[in-house]
């Protein structure tokens, strides 16, 4: 994902002389292409996220597009007020990039687990929020972000995420990654995932086919969300399940709940994510996804249990 991001930003720099990359002294090795080939567009702000956010706002107010890069919670929570007051209130053209959303830095401890960032960024007026699942989504997200005249949050994994088999690739829409059967009496469920859990969602959709008539989707754009696409899914399924490497408060599950509530749709919603808790253990992303029930096995187990209880 990181490589896709940098390549996409370099492409933008080729097209537009007003594109800049700021970093708060992170991205060693990642930034090489920019440092070597676009050095005049690269600014290492030092370990100063607050100043980075405000300075990016000042640069953007002068007609530039500024990508500000850091990891985990540093480019969001550490400088939240600067994002709110200086970037968002002034509609500044700043693209906030966080590498390592969710458990990407799982071994490094709670400080590096970003599990509230989507909720916080979604709550800021005018902020567009993306959480791409693989490199192809990242490339499309960066292109789309550059078209938006205003603040954008881009939440990435750390790298090495498997490619998602998209049936369609329109970054502004819910994107189908698994089709349900056309003729089935089984209860229909739609699995909706965002970001780094989408591969697990795709795997889970295969394992649940014996019990449910399953479709699955990747939703990289969380705000504004594809209301029509979500509504169509909600209206055509018995149950919608959201999966996210994030607190269930304020993230994808909440976004879908808002669509359901606002449109008087009665679809059942099951939210899978961090249950309003901090991590209590460390480990690899795979380990933590499994520990907190967000991986394929966790999704399948939860939905089988629900089926058993409801059909007992």
């Amino acid at each position: 994902m990181k490589k896709a991001l940098i390549n996409a930003v370099c492409n933008l720099m080729d097209e537009n002389e007003n594109v800049y990359m700021f970093t708060a002294d992170l991205g060693y090795g990642v930034m090489n292409n920019i440092i070597e080939n676009y050095s005049e567009k690269f600014v290492n702000m030092g370990i100063c996220e607050q100043n980075m956010a405000s300075t990016a706002a000042g640069m953007a107010m002068e007609g530039n597009i500024v990508f500000m890069y850091s990891i985990g919670n540093f480019p969001t929570l550490r400088c939240l007020e600067q994002i709110r007051n200086d970037i968002a209130y002034h509609c500044a053209n700043v693209k906030i990039v966080a590498v390592g959303g969710g458990f990407a830095y799982g071994n490094l401890g709670m400080s590096h687990h970003a599990t509230e960032d989507i909720a916080v960024m979604r709550a800021i007026p005018g902020m567009t929020v993306f959480s791409p699942a693989d490199s192809s989504e990242v490339t499309a997200v960066v292109k789309e972000a550059a078209k938006i005249d205003g603040p954008v949050y881009i939440r990435l994994g750390r790298g090495g995420e498997p490619d998602v088999a998209h049936i369609s690739l329109d970054i502004n829409k819910v994107m189908r990654i698994a089709e349900r059967e056309s003729d089935s009496m089984k209860p229909s469920i739609a699995l909706l995932g965002t970001g780094t859990v989408v591969a697990d969602v795709a795997d889970a959709s295969k394992q649940l086919k014996e019990t449910y008539n399953v479709s699955a989707y990747s939703i990289p754009k969380l705000k504004p969300i594809d209301m029509d696409g979500v509504l169509e899914i909600c209206k055509s399924n018995d149950c919608v399940v959201t999966v996210e490497e994030h607190n269930i408060v304020g993230g994808l599950g909440s976004a879908i709940a808002e669509v359901i509530a606002d449109n008087k749709v009665g679809t059942r919603l099951i939210r899978i994510g961090m249950n309003d808790q901090f991590t209590q253990v460390v480990g690899s992303p795979d380990y933590l996804r499994h520990y907190y029930g967000l991986d394929c096995a966790g999704i399948v187990e939860k939905l089988h249990k629900i089926y058993e209880v409801e059909n007992d």
Binding site: V43, G46, Q50, N51, T55, G58, G63
Partner: protein, 282 residues
Amino acid sequence: MGIRECTVEKLGVKKTMTSKELANRLRVHTVEMAHYSKESHVASALSICDIVAVLYHDVLRKDPMDAKWEERDRFILSKGHACSTVYAALAETGFFSVDELNTQCQDGSRLSGHITYKNVPGVELSTGSLGHGCCVAAGMALNAKLKGKKYRTFVLVGDGECDEGSVWEMALFAHQYKLGNLTVVVDHNKMQAMGFCKDIADHVNLADKWQAFGWEVIEVDGHDHGQLSMALNKRGTEKPVCVVAHTIKGKGVTFMENNLLWHYRDPQGEDYENALRELRAQ
């Protein structure tokens, strides 16, 4: 100096008005605005009237008929609570009507209690939370530096505001990127919200601190227009410039000077009459 050809004329300040006269007008407006709005911070606003008057009279290149003129100098009030002085300066120099000043903070007014750029011509940035404006100013200065633009960027911060870590993040950055086109003015009135700076978060010596961060530091009497004009018109070469302006909080109204009460209280009744009488006699 001055807007395009001549600051004084183009900015709508009467040609005969000196910067001292402008400063006194700002003081009167400031007291009136606090009276009508019934809001705090009149002493903070009085503290910066001379700095702001010299900026708008002698230094800033601005065009009230074209507030977004690309080559204008950028001025940001980082201590946004002292905004009545800047609103008054903008009105006195033709950006909007003086008649509007006393609507500040009233229902539906565009003039908020902390400075805002929304719908207010001539304001670059909304502030109110301390330690933001100076960092945004650094971004504007960086843009000019990277693109060879001639505009200068000025930002006015409070000494209490220098408690904020972000101010020093910016100080590191502006030195590292050699932003000689950036001038920070510190309103050094030695007081902050709960008392004297030295009793709360002692900066020991602010000028030394900015110098230690690699800035060119000029200390001035923040009420001496000659010293202010000389310091503010001095362009940095590679080093960013910090003008440490020694000021008196509440300057111009004797009973408000160095009196923390007037960080909060709004002038009413006899206080209001006495303040205006003293200012009008100056």
